[in-house]
């Protein structure tokens, strides 16, 4: 299969690679770039575990091809915290509120809610619950996740 050149800025570093046109953005990030924090929970766009930020917008990387990300800036879970390893306020809130157990869905929640709180910094509880409904978690019953996002939003209110 012929390959196509793509240039993507991932977590601040520009990278040019040739990829098959059918390679999903998720597999490009995980297998080509070895950024394995982006997880695949369903590969049909429902669970949200694979969410990354593409030019700032929360996107399901299982539903995008790598070639569609050509020329964009992508932020993955590996790029959410500070370079020195300090957690973002949202990541810290997840830790403080027991917002994760197995941690498989967590990167998608963090990326999705990072975009949501940027756009809705003082979101109400109902708005938060509605925003969270796009991601699936099977461990926590969402209790700690809801509290974590409320805590992070509360810091902005």
């Amino acid at each position: 299969m012929h390959e196509v050149e793509v240039t993507v800025t991932i977590n601040g570093a520009m990278r040019t690679t040739t990829v098959e046109p059918r390679l999903t953005l998720a597999d490009y990030l995980r297998d080509t770039c070895r950024l394995t924090g982006t997880h695949l929970g369903c590969e049909h766009g429902v669970c949200g575990a694979c969410t990354v930020l593409v030019d700032g917008a929360a996107m399901r990387s299982c539903l995008m091809f790598a070639v569609q990300a050509d020329g964009t800036e992508v932020t993955t879970i590996e790029g959410i915290g500070a370079d020195d390893g300090e957690l973002s306020p949202l990541q810290a809130a997840f830790r403080d509120c027991h917002g994760l157990q197995c941690g498989f869905c967590t990167p998608g929640f963090i990326t999705s809610m990072t975009a949501f709180l940027r756009d809705n910094p003082a979101a109400t509880d109902d708005e938060i619950t509605g925003a969270l409904a796009g991601n699936l978690c099977r461990c926590t019953g969402y209790q700690g996740i809801i509290q974590a996002v409320r805590q992070a939003a509360g810091q902005n209110r």
């Binding site: 669970c47 990541q91 197995c102 941690g103 509605g130 991601n135 099977r138």
Partner: protein
Amino acid sequence: MSGVTEGAARYAGTRINRVEDARLLTGQGTFVDDIALPGMLHACFVRSPFPRASIRGIETAAALAVPGVQFVFTAGDLNPSMKEQWHTSIGPRSPETPRPPLAEHEARFVGDPVALVVATDRYIAEDAAELVVVDYDPLPAVVDYTTAHEADALVHEQHGSNVIAELAALPESALDDVFAGAAHVVNETIYQQACAPVPMEGRGLVIDCSPASGEITIYAATQSPHEVRLFCSRLLGMPEHRIRVVMRDTGGGFGQKVLVQRDEMCVMLAAPKVGVPLKWVEDRRENLLAAGKSRQEHAAVKMAFDADGSIQAAFIDFVSDCGAYPTPWPVMPAAAVGALFSGPYRVPHASFATKTIYTNTVGRTAYRGPWQFESLAREVLLDIAARQMEIDPIDLRRRNLLRRVDLPYTNPIGMTFDDISPMETFEQALSMLDYDAFRREQATARAAGRYLGVGTSSYVEPSTPGHGYYGTEAATIRIEPSGMVNVYIAGGSAGNSLETTVVQLTADALGVRLEDVHTIQGDTAVTGFGAGVAGSRSGSMTAGAVHATAQILRERMIAIAAQQLEAAIDDIELANSGAHVRGTPSISISLADLAGVAYFDTAKLPAGVAPGLEATARYASVAQSIWVNAAHVCTCEVDVETGQIELLRYIVSEDCGPMINPNVVEGQIAGGTVQGIGGALYEHLAYDTDGNPITTTFMDYLIPTAAEVPMIEYGHIETPSPGPGGYKGVGEGGAIGSPPAVVNAVADALAPLGVRLTRLPLSPDRIIELIHHGQG
């Protein structure tokens, strides 16, 4: 723990943050699909599209011609290499279902693995799988488990019947006199639909075989790395010590990753033939198609009551659908439903009958609280009984729940409950709700045409199985020469916070600072045998193992400190990562200095004290099981126009003994409770009448989202168990308690409309139908 003097607990009981979180929050976890080895190939299964079909031939040439395809294995290639297949917890002598790795001659459910394609990447393997041509001859399928016993077609011809087994206690007729003489008798048949555990990460393996050394390393998504090793050893006929299983992060299990199934067997058998590392990671469709189903069962249940509502007798006739390849043998879990049906109540007479059934559907597997139907059936029946007898359902339970004075209590089947608090958890949950206030609110709402309801459920469950394969657990603790501590436990944590738990327990047991303790789990090369995460066992068993090992080290640390500080042994206290003279903290020695003597200055060791600060010990359980109980209370509002159910409040009062970390305890309760809410309201692993699975995506198999769940309120009663630290298991209870509480709340809301709920899930269309037709 009796006989062991501990330093004052400082970390157990506190809500410390998890040690797992730093890596998991930043994308630095290591799940099985994150493993990439040089030269690694990728496997993809060809699966049967028919529920039952003869396999007349398989043509692989077109698939093998795809560039990048290295192997296409069929049953003839893999199955003859299989030596033995049995699970350690079940043993070799159980009348197990035969488990051909790949389907031989006959496919028995949609998703049955028929061939295995191995290629240089997963995309190519999937392309090639579509080019494998299987000549199927479709056969009549056994789909409906309720009629399977009389079907002409047989799922397993050689078994001679679609009934796997019938296991019963006293015959139903033995209770005839009690039922005939009872003031009230209540009968119902209650159905629960098929659900799936649905961990967010599916199953997966990476297997690295070294032909030169004869060693195998397996990276696995598992709840039990040592069982993966033992199973693989028997499967391949290879000595166990040549096999190493490693798991770092597993993305949920809920029972599905306790035991090795056929797909994993195929990958284990293929890997030595492939000769380079082989990866198989299932996708969501495969997980919902082939990883197993749970629940799917029903029972005719009845209870007899005297005139004042005291239970006189209980009987359950239970039937479960076990699919084509149940794992494990499903007969004993069915018996557990029968044995526990009378629950945490005074019930003078009880018995049960169980029947397990083969069908041409995916096999039954364990799922959090595998016997939870006993609670669903009992608690729903009790509410039906209360309505029939015109007694408040709360009063009915108050008359019958076990009280402290009743303990120990042996139920009619022979289960002896002790160290539980059913009445206390029930009353605590009701007072958190303010039951009387809710009834007033409900009456006001009904006058306004709104339908509110309240439901409860109470259960007692056996945690921490204390026998056989599950009966022991080992810990190795190494206090390194620097004074830093490493604790090694078999592991298998799939979100259970077992690293945090073990670090807390070890820090307290040795009197060291939390930040000085690290834990290594999930690597069979460096941890002693342990059965993994199952049966709500890890809290109690790891506490026992850590305490037993720490005691060896404490004695050594105290002896060295006494000598160094010129004090009596009885005057030494271990705290703050060191030792000091009791009452005189300034006379102290650090753990680093103690370790320095133990490793590098052994001439200074007191007589008879061994060098080094490393120890291993194995704890053997003190009880057959540790009983744990809880009460769930739920309120809801039902929209009688749309059938929509909104849960208003959800309260759990649980008695798991002292809590090691309340965040972890409440997290386990929440996760289980919401899985149970999903089962009651949304989830259904459905098949059409021809045996085709129709819920193989998350658009069809509906698990709860944040928008559906109430905020859970927790109450804790603390009755210590006889086990280490008084701890009990808390992993499964939430999933046991919540379905009946939700069903009873909805039934209570709709009682004025004459609705009787006996089938799950309570989907909006079912609610609307019941409102129009009454009986469910």
